[in-house]
């Protein structure tokens, strides 16, 4: 299993948060709103593409619409392998947090 970079982790989570509407623009918005940081749209496209190549995301085309110049939206979903990678990463982070008295304030 290749290592997972931080921005890749965030993008995977943002795809899951976007649910059925997980196309690039929506994922970008989720990333910006939830992390409260500016995110470059180009980075999102590139990372989505890379995650597809790694097999952690799958993509499928929606219906074309005239507002998009007759082009279809590309929707993304986390694959089983992607979920496995996420799980591994989150477990690792949990283990790192274990017993540490730094309580998040949420």
């Amino acid at each position: 299993m290749p290592p997972i970079a931080e921005f890749e982790l965030r993008t995977l989570l943002a795809v899951m948060q976007s649910g059925d509407e997980a196309y690039a623009v929506r994922v970008h918005r989720e990333l910006e709103e939830r992390t409260k940081r500016r995110v470059a749209i180009g980075a999102v496209y590139v990372t989505l593409e890379r995650l597809v190549r790694k097999g952690w995301l799958a993509s499928k085309l929606g219906d074309p619409s005239p507002e998009r110049g007759g082009r279809a939206k590309r929707f993304y979903a986390v694959t089983v392998r992607g979920k496995g990678a996420l799980r591994n990463e989150i477990r690792a982070i949990h283990r790192l947090w274990e017993g540490l008295d730094v309580v998040p304030d949420a």
Partner: protein
């Protein structure tokens, strides 16, 4: 309704950069967002700009990241220890290639580094004073001297008088330092008397230069005026003559038979003004009062401009005090940058030679480049296999670059060792006339320059695989089985080889021109017989106060004594040997023009002089025993006769020092000051009649042997007659002749060395290309032979191929050579920059080299066995 279209440039850019799928996705999203802006044009543009630039930026970054990741798989290609080890191991298996590459590169690097170190020492570090740019030499200009053949050499370089020396510091406001000096040679007393270089300096010279004594003190301003027994010695003299003894200050020395006390030692390497380093320095205060007159312009002067003062302002400020009150209307003042005057004449030849060395290095680099390209080509099969097994092209290129870098570093190490080793030999070859050359050494600056050169060469050679490997594609290499080459036909090789030939032609033409200059210069008729002449110039002790006859008698007894040395044919004395840089001029008065006082060169000779020198009279007679003291006879040159005597001199008179001299004979004008001298306008006096000399030169013609073998006997014989005689020169006429063209010969030798090396390298490069071409065409040539072509015809094919490359180089090189030879036109004499002889010879040399390069491959091609060539 359809969406507002995204601008055309964004579409084009994205389509080029992205895959079709990605393009659709991004375009769709972008169009959607532009639609969401509600049609406001500026907002749509902003969104497009943000999205497109962000996508472009990140896509490029991502692809670079991927390439890096791919390349580093299976071993980094950057100069990792492993890559270097691999390269070293590979080169160990190819000793011949490595040796030729390293030798070639090292030759170029050594030539360039050595030239730079000479330039650096002689030119760049010639004036190690504080703020040397503000130092100016001050001269008196006498425009009316400009066209006088005797005085023209110093018309704008006149010295200052004692009065100027005293007036300038009192009145000038634009200078912050004032140094004056004059050089002299004096007899250093000891077990064997010796003439040494000496400088008389004022106290202001050292503070002006910012020089601090290594030991003791410098002179005080009082010593400028009054007699003192202080002397300062150079650091080199301290070490060589006094063994570097610690108690040197206070030590006593004899100069011109007078005791002096050493008060200080100069810092090492001190050299100022004169070409030859002064060993002893004395204060100006010893100048006799008789010389402290208005009319005696014997002092050299250098000033330091006050901060912010222009040369013009300083010249105007100093002018009245420089001109003085004696005939000021005939004098002007000029100020010349001290640094420029010290190095100006040697800078251009040295820079030119450095450029030549760099051309050589360029040839060497391209040669090694071609060698590496050929090596890469030979390894097509290896690369094809490695690529098929997953080796990335960048990995392979990286490995090639590391291999090249290893070669270059090896060559640099060899070059530095060779430079340290050969520089002293090169400097021994060099003429003494380049001041400071004896201090050339390899130091940090030189090493830095060598390192810089190495980096440039490495960059050139390491970037080579970037484009050579481009042609080796995995599949092709495997399919062809690595047998037939295509690179040998490639344009790259041809241009490299043609370029080398062109550069070599430039260097050969330059060398030829410089060589022809030396040949033309030295082939002029001297007007005397220079063969088998030994020369000794001495200063005789205790000569002051002697009468003319007594002096002549002492010189004559020297001449008589040396004439009796076995192996000596004849001997004579003169006041100055030709080519010894010793010229005296005298103002004479002619009965026909009583108010004019023209100048002519003067030699005082013994009556055997003309016989020894092989000079015969054109008219009249030469000196003989009938010329007695008390009368004044003169022999003049034809140029003298032509200028002053209206073409007929014998029997006429001129007045010198209030004495009427009768012209008894005329000789053809011999060369006296140098080969390139115009006809010498001089006259000869007989030493019995006018012995006003104290530095006689004894000339000896050997009976048949090498005159240099006579030198020890000459010294012994002269010391036996004159125990206190101090030699200022002891050598042969050949030495003097060679010394007078030493600069020109040195340039010609260096340039020829570069030319020969360049030709050799170009030949090797050509040989490689032709060999490879023959290998690649083995099958074709075999077929030709099988179909009945004669072996000679095949060889002609090869020669024709080589000649086409050589001709390409010559066509490219000739115009460049003509431009380059114009650049060295200033160093040429007796030969035009476009000399057909030299250019034809150089072209012929290049063509010959081309044929020589093709000889081996042509023979091999004619011996190809058709059966084997076709079967393979």
């Amino acid at each position: 309704m359809s969406a507002r279209p995204v601008s055309r440039w964004a579409t084009a850019l994205l389509r080029r950069l992205l895959t079709a799928e990605q393009f659709d996705e991004v375009m769709g999203d972008l169009t959607g967002r532009v639609h969401d802006t509600g049609g406001a044009h500026w907002r749509a543009s902003r969104v497009t700009l943000v999205v497109v630039s962000s996508v472009v930026w990140h896509t490029v970054r991502e692809s670079l990241r991927q390439r890096r990741a791919r390349s580093s798989r299976g071993g980094a290609w950057l100069p990792s220890p492993r890559g270097v080890r691999l390269a070293v191991r590979r080169w160990k298996a190819r000793p011949a290639l490595v040796t030729s590459a390293i030798v070639t590169l090292a030759l170029g690097l050594v030539a360039t580094t050595a030239m730079f170190s000479i330039l650096d020492t002689v030119v760049l570090r010639a004036a190690p004073w504080s703020e040397p740019d503000r130092l100016y030499n001050v001269y008196v200009v006498r425009p009316h001297w400009q066209h006088d053949p005797v005085l023209s050499s110093s018309w704008n370089r006149g010295g200052l008088s004692w009065t100027s020396f005293q007036d300038i510091p009192k009145h000038a406001t634009t200078i912050s330092g004032f140094g004056v000096w004059r050089s002299d040679r004096q007899t250093l007393g000891g077990s064997q008397a010796e003439l040494v270089h000496l400088m008389m300096v004022n106290a202001g010279l050292f503070p002006m230069l910012g020089v601090v004594p290594a030991q003791g003190r410098f002179f005080t301003p009082e010593e400028d005026e009054s007699v003192s027994d202080s002397v300062i010695i150079s650091s080199e003299t301290w070490r060589s003559r006094f063994g570097g003894r610690a108690d040197i200050v206070g030590y006593s020395v004899l100069l011109n038979e007078r005791p002096f006390r050493i008060i200080g030692v100069l810092p090492p390497g001190f050299r100022f003004g004169a070409v030859e380093r002064a060993e002893f320095l004395r204060p100006l205060g010893l100048t006799p009062t008789s010389q402290r007159t208005e009319g005696n312009h014997f002092l050299q002067a250098t000033v330091r401009l006050a901060p912010g003062v222009s040369v013009d302002a300083a010249t105007r400020d100093l002018e009245p005090w420089v001109r003085g009150s004696e005939l000021p209307e005939r004098k002007q003042t000029t100020m010349v940058s001290h640094v420029e005057e010290e190095v100006g004449s040697s800078r251009r030849p040295l820079v030119t030679l450095l450029v030549a060395a760099m051309l050589l290095l360029l040839i060497a680099t391209s040669n090694v480049g071609a060698l590496l390209m050929g090596d890469t080509e030979a390894r097509r099969h290896e690369f094809a296999v490695r690529m098929s097994l997953g080796g990335g092209p960048w990995q392979l290129r990286g490995q090639l670059a590391v291999e090249a870098a290893v070669l270059v570093v090896g060559a640099a190490i060899v070059a530095v060792v060779l430079t340290v080793w050969t520089l002293p030999a090169l400097i021994r070859l060099a003429p003494v006339a380049m001041p400071g050359l004896d201090t050339v050494s390899v130091d940090g600056r030189i090493l830095g320059f060598a390192a810089l050169l190495t980096c440039v060469v490495a960059m050139l050679l390491c970037s080579m695989p970037l484009w050579t490997l481009g042609r080796v594609r995995g599949a092709d290499g495997l399919r062809e089985g690595g047998r037939s080459g295509s690179l040998s036909k490639s344009r790259g090789f041809r241009w490299i080889v043609a370029g080398q030939t062109a550069l070599a032609l430039i260097l050969v033409v330059g060398a030829g021109l410089l060589f022809e200059t030396v040949r033309q210069t030295t082939s002029v008729s001297l007007g005397f017989d220079a063969d088998r002449l030994a020369i000794a110039t001495v200063r005789l002790p205790r000569i002051a106060g002697l009468t003319a006859e007594e002096r002549a008698q002492r010189v004559q007894s020297l001449v008589d004594r040396v004439a009796s040395i076995p192996g000596v044919e004849s001997a004579a004395a003169t006041s100055a040997a030709p080519f010894s840089n010793n010229n005296s001029a005298s103002g004479i008065r002619l009965p026909s023009r009583p108010d004019a006082r023209p100048n002519a060169s003067r030699l005082i000779v013994s009556d055997q002089y003309f016989a020894v020198m092989g000079i015969r009279p054109v008219e009249g007679r030469l000196f003989d025993v009938t010329d007695r003291p008390g009368r004044f006879a003169a022999v003049v040159t034809q140029e003298f006769e032509r200028t002053f005597m209206d073409g007929h001199a014998v029997g006429k008179t001129f007045i010198l020092n209030d004495n009427t001299h009768t012209i008894i004979g005329v000789v053809a004008s011999p060369k006296h000051r140098g080969y390139t001298e115009e006809a010498w306008r001089g006259f000869y006096l007989l030493n019995r009649q006018d012995p006003s000399w104290d530095l006689p030169t004894v000339l000896v013609r050997s009976a048949g042997g090498d005159p240099s073998a006579l030198l020890p006997d000459l010294r012994r014989a002269m010391n036996a007659v004159e125990p206190g005689a101090a030699f200022s020169f002891l050598g042969t006429m050949d030495t003097l002749l060679a010394r007078s063209v030493a600069d020109e010969r040195f340039r010609a030798q260096l340039a020829s060395a570069f030319g020969v090396l360049a030709l050799l390298l170009a030949t090797i490069g050509l040989y490689g290309v032709v060999t490879r071409a023959v290998q690649a065409r083995t099958r074709e040539l075999g077929v030709r032979l099988a179909l009945g072509a004669r072996p000679g015809a095949v060889a002609v094919l090869v020669f024709r191929h080589a000649l086409s490359l050589g001709a390409l180089g010559i066509v490219a090189g000739l115009p460049a050579a003509l431009v380059a030879s114009r650049a060295i036109a200033a160093f040429l004499y007796g030969v035009a920059p476009w000399s057909p002889l030299v250019i034809t010879a150089a072209t012929a040399a290049v063509l010959l080299a081309t044929l020589a390069a093709a000889l081996g491959p042509a023979v091999r091609a004619s011996r190809i066995d058709p059966l084997r060539a076709i079967r393979e």
